[in-house]
Structure formats: structure tokens, C-alpha cells
């Protein structure tokens, strides 16, 4: 790691910079990350409390032998939906963090900060506490998916309000948005507090568990609802890379480079809202992936978003799968909420990054 590493994006000059050295390093990092995701994915298919082994299942499938009912259930009903959910949620959270940090030109930005997380949380809490008051017809229609649905709508509503407040005559003020996000977060927190107050004991327990996040509730039906949204956001994100690189130089400079700054901001906000809303909806509150992953990657491969965004998707997905394996195994047959694992792993890493930065960049 040379002294040229900086946690703050430094724009297109950095990657055209002194050599192709940086782009080579980015490519190597990218390749390592792809291998990392493949390995964690294989491991999470093969490792689990139920003791069903992947090689055995594969050899059975290869030789055309029938799987036992237990093997079928563990592989197809439990581990596969959980694997895809973990991949998409991890990638969505990390990419959202990277886009948000690029957009705000602030390494501490995170969907949690602009109130999207709080809005989604409020939606979920509303569904848990007041869900039973909905008309029976609505309940029958959404069934068990009422919490994810409400979380998504909550995140979406928060984003729309945020956008409405901070956009005047087609121009979005990022600073206003950041402040409005803090206000919205506080408001959503207060409303959540009121609901917590009227909740009964069981609902309180549900609220606590939901807030800590888990992939234990992964299922094909949930995945079918959330995956298209997360996929769309993940496909849209790389299109923002060039614009985010330009924005690092400032809005005026970006505009001079021929970037449609306002359109790009709108797309970035929509991407983050969709990815975060859907991720929170299927997995509850999972912290630290969105903020730690982009930081770590900027240290490893520099600030160029063309590499940073796909790398964030890979590292986020791989880390979440790793955290999920830990959550599943540490106290088996019970399991830990995954948010606890990401916080325990992410907290020290984040501190380490901050300490490193202080040593390298004089703050």
C-alpha cells in the first residue's frame, strides 16, 4: 500500500495517473473477489447445521440417484433460497453504500444516514404492530409478506419525501438532502418509538429480532418478489460509474465533462432506494456492509467507480454469505441474527480503517 491510497475519491485523474499500475491492481483485486464469492457460495451450500454434505448430494445428482427428502429440503428449500438472498442482499447493501458515498462525496454516507433505512424500519414496525388491524381481504392478499412489503414501501416513501424536499426547479441539493435525511430519520425513529410503546410483549420481541436482521426467513416466494428490484438496481449502478467519478471533482466540473448531473443524481437516488428498500425488506436491518465494504475496497483498489461498484457487489455478497455461515453455525441448532455478526465483524474493521486513514492522510 503506497501513500497514494486515499479513502476519498480523487476523480478520473487518479486512474489515468502515473501508470496502468492501478488498473492492473483493480483487475487482480476483482479476480480475487470473484473467486472469493464463488468459494463462499459453495461453502454456504455445503455447510449447515443439518449436516447435509454438498459433495454427497452432487454425486447423487450426477449418478441419477434419488435424493432423500431431507437432502431435498435442506438444499432446495433452505440453502438455495438463502444463498441467492444473501448474494443479492449483500451486493445491494454494498453497492448502495458505494453509490451513496460517491453521490454525497462523503465517505461516511450510507443509506442509513439519509433515512431510507429508518423509513423501511418504520414500515416494518407498522406492519408488526398494526398489521392485524388491516382488512381481512388485504391480509389474505399479502399474507406473510406484509412485513417485507411494508418495509419496502416505507423505504420508498422516505426516499420520495427526501427527494421532494431537496429538489427545487429540477435541481437536487445534496447538502439539503443529507440534512433532510437526518430529520426524516429522527421522525421515523420517533414514530417507531410510539409504536414500540403500544406494542405488546410478543410484538416487542419480533421488533427486536427484525431490527437485528436475518436471512433465516429466506424463501423462494420472498426472493421472487425482491430479486427483480435488487437485480435492476445492481444492473443500473455500473452505469453511474463514470458520472460518479466526474462528480468527485465537483458538480460544476462534472457538468463541464458533459455529465447530465441532475439526471445522474436522480438515477443514483432511485437505485439506492430500490436496492436498500428491497434488501431491508427481505432481511431486516443488517448494518456495516454498506459502509465498510466500499471503504475497504478504496484502500485496496483506489476510488475509480468503474471498478469499485462491481467489486463492492462481490465483496458485499461474499462477506454477507460468510457472516450468514457464522450466524448459522456458532450456536447451532439455534442461530444468531446476522446483524449481530456483521456488526461484530464490521465494527473493528471500520475502526481499523479509520486509524489507518489517520496515519496516512493527515486529518
Amino acid at each position: 500500500m503506497g501513500g497514494s491510497d486515499r479513502a476519498r475519491p480523487t476523480g478520473p485523474h487518479a486512474m489515468r495517473g502515473p501508470s496502468g499500475d492501478r488498473s492492473l491492481r483493480a483487475r487482480v483485486t476483482m479476480a480475487v473477489l470473484v473467486v472469493f464469492v464463488a468459494m463462499t457460495a459453495l461453502a454456504s451450500m455445503g455447510i449447515g447445521a443439518a449436516g447435509v454434505s454438498l459433495p454427497q448430494v452432487l454425486s447423487k445428482l450426477w449418478s441419477g440417484e434419488a435424493l432423500s427428502l431431507r437432502e431435498q429440503v435442506v438444499i432446495f428449500d433452505i440453502r438455495l433460497p438463502r444463498l441467492f438472498t444473501g448474494l443479492l442482499v449483500g451486493a445491494s447493501l454494498a453497492v448502495s453504500g458505494a453509490v451513496m458515498q460517491g453521490l454525497f462525496r462523503n465517505p461516511l454516507a450510507d443509506p442509513g444516514i439519509v433515512g431510507v433505512g429508518a423509513g423501511a424500519g418504520l414500515g416494518a414496525v407498522l406492519a408488526i404492530v398494526l398489521g392485524s388491524f388491516l382488512p381481512a381481504a388485504v391480509l389474505a392478499m399479502v399474507g406473510a409478506h406484509i412485513i417485507p412489503l411494508a418495509a419496502f414501501l416505507g423505504g420508498w416513501a422516505a426516499t420520495m419525501i427526501l427527494y421532494g424536499v431537496s429538489t427545487r426547479q429540477g435541481r437536487t441539493s445534496v447538502a439539503t438532502m443529507l440534512l433532510a435525511g437526518i430529520a426524516l430519520g429522527a421522525l421515523a425513529g420517533a414514530l417507531t418509538g410510539i409504536l414500540v410503546y403500544i406494542a405488546d410483549d410478543q410484538q416487542l420481541r419480533d421488533l427486536t429480532f427484525w431490527g437485528l436482521g436475518s436471512l433465516a426467513g429466506a424463501s423462494w416466494t420472498k426472493l421472487a418478489a425482491a430479486a427483480p428490484i435488487m437485480l435492476a438496481a445492481l444492473i443500473a449502478a455500473p452505469m453511474l460509474a463514470r458520472a460518479l467519478n466526474g462528480l468527485a471533482l465537483g458538480e460544476a466540473a462534472a457538468a463541464h465533462m458533459g455529465i447530465a448531473v441532475q439526471r445522474m443524481k436522480t438515477l443514483a437516488i432511485l437505485t439506492v432506494a430500490a436496492a436498500t428498500g428491497a434488501a431491508v425488506a427481505v432481511s431486516g436491518g443488517i448494518g456495516f456492509i454498506g459502509i465498510v465494504v466500499p471503504h475497504l475496497l478504496r484502500l485496496l483498489m483506489g476510488p475509480d467507480h468503474r471498478f469499485l461498484l462491481p467489486a463492492a457487489a462481490c465483496l458485499g455478497a461474499g462477506l454477507l454469505l460468510l457472516a450468514d455461515m457464522i450466524a448459522r453455525l456458532v450456536i447451532a441448532p439455534a442461530e444468531l441474527p446476522i446483524g449481530i455478526v456483521t456488526a461484530v465483524l464490521g465494527g473493528p474493521v471500520f475502526l481499523w480503517i479509520l486509524l489507518r486513514r489517520r496515519g496516512i492522510v493527515d486529518m
Binding site: G48, A49, A50, G51, L69, R70, V73, V74, D77, I78, R79, A144, D200, D201, Q202, R205, D206, F209, S214, A216, G217, A218, S219, K222, R328, I331, A332, P333, A334, E335, P337
Partner: protein, 285 residues
Amino acid sequence: MIRSLLAPFLLAAAVATPVAAQDRVVVVGGGLAEIVYALGQEDRLVGRDTTASFPPAVNDLPDVGYMRALSPEGLLRLDPDLIIASEGSGPPETIAIMQNAKIPFVQVTEETSVASVMERVSTIAQTLDAADAGRALVARLQAQFDDLSQVTAQVSAPRRVMFILSAQDGRINTAGAGTGAEAMIELAGAVNAFDDIEGYRLLTDEAIAAAAPDVILMMDRDGAHALSDDGIRAHPALGLTPAAQSGRIVRMDGIFLLGFGPRTAEAARALHDAVYPTTPPRQEG
């Protein structure tokens, strides 16, 4: 109605496996484990959830986690051929996976009444193919409840009991209408001093003073939630109550008092004796 809801599960159990082969049973829900033990079927248990802690031997079984956050793989790892669970157990995704794996998931009512205690005992006895033991237990419990109601029928002036769930930083959390604590207070032949509020609620000091309970009932516990007799007398509102002034403060083991299992009649009788002592109340209650 509950029984008709359970019918498909019971049927599934009967079809899937001969009942005698149900030798690997996971029980989810505190009071339910107690019933399995009371029926003498504990040798068939291979797992329990976090809420089960009585009898003490149940703690030696693997813990599958909190009843509302059960891990599907964790359950499958125990290779159960039957799961008996309280109604609120879940999440629904885990229950669906158990059904795909053809593992009967029998849900039992979690209401807090004498009738539902009996219903739980019979349902579990039938599910475990221990109908004789079930009938014997129901008969014994019925006799205990009959004795109890004869005793409580003689209460002419019911005392007003306040249940304190917790008292952190002096803020009192009490049991209102519809709670298990209220059901036990009524079983013991007393009335809930806070039957005009719903569920477990934090109280203002004025509400406590206005309710003027004759007896204060608490769970036996230590730590931040514990409240000593001196603490009660020193509390600005609790200190004013007739309960504090006459020293009628009762402490009982939490699971014994609120478990709504095989020891409920016994617990209600113990509560009755503590609320209406034949000897003058002591400081310890």
C-alpha cells in the same frame, strides 16, 4: 375450534409415521415442555426452545433458539419426527419448510385459562400417544382446580392485587386486562387492581396511588428488575398503597406463576394462600 384446526396435522402425523415411532420430539414453548414431563414422556424429547426452563432437566436438551425465530436447519439437524409448538411459534417460513420435509408440526393453543391448560394437556397426550397418562393428568388437575374453586368461593371481600412485571429505574410495569398474570390473580380468588388497562403497561405514579392495591405480587428475581420491600416502601407511589403499608408483598417464581402448565392449580393455590394468609402478614409475604 382449535381441535378442528389441528386435525390435519394430527392426521398427517398418523399417516406419516406410526405413532410409536415418534421417538424424536422437539418441544417449543415453555409450558409445553413441562406438560411432556408431567406425562412421563420426557425420554422422547431431543430438543427444546429458549423459553423452556422447567423442570431443570429440560436445560440439558439442545436449545433450538427463541420460539418465534426458529432456524429450519437447526430443527432438521435434530432429525425430529414430531415438533410440538405453541401457537405463536415461527417464523412461518420455518413451519412451511417442516411441512415440506413431512415433519408434523403440531401447534397448541397458548391461551391463559384453565380450559386451555386442559386442552394443551389432552392435545399433547394424544399427539404423543399417551392418552391414558393424559386422562390421568387431566383428572388430577381437575380435582386440584375444583378444590381451589371451593376455597376461593369462600372469599367474601376479594383483595385487589397489583402485579409488578418489572421496576427498572423506579418505573413500574404492571399487568392489565387479558394478561396471564390477571388470569392467575382471578384464579386465586382476587381481582386485578389494573383491570381497566390492556396488556403489560408502564404506569404513572398517580395511577398507582389511585388504584390502591391491597397486595403487590412480583416474580422472584434479582438484578435491575428486582424490588426489595424497602424499595417498595421508599417508592413515592408504591409506598402510599395499602399493600406496602400492611406489608402484603408476595414473590413467586415466574415460570411457576405464569407457566400455565401442570403446576398452575398448585401455583394459584399458593397465590391464594399468600393473598389471604390465615396468620397475620409477615414482612416477607
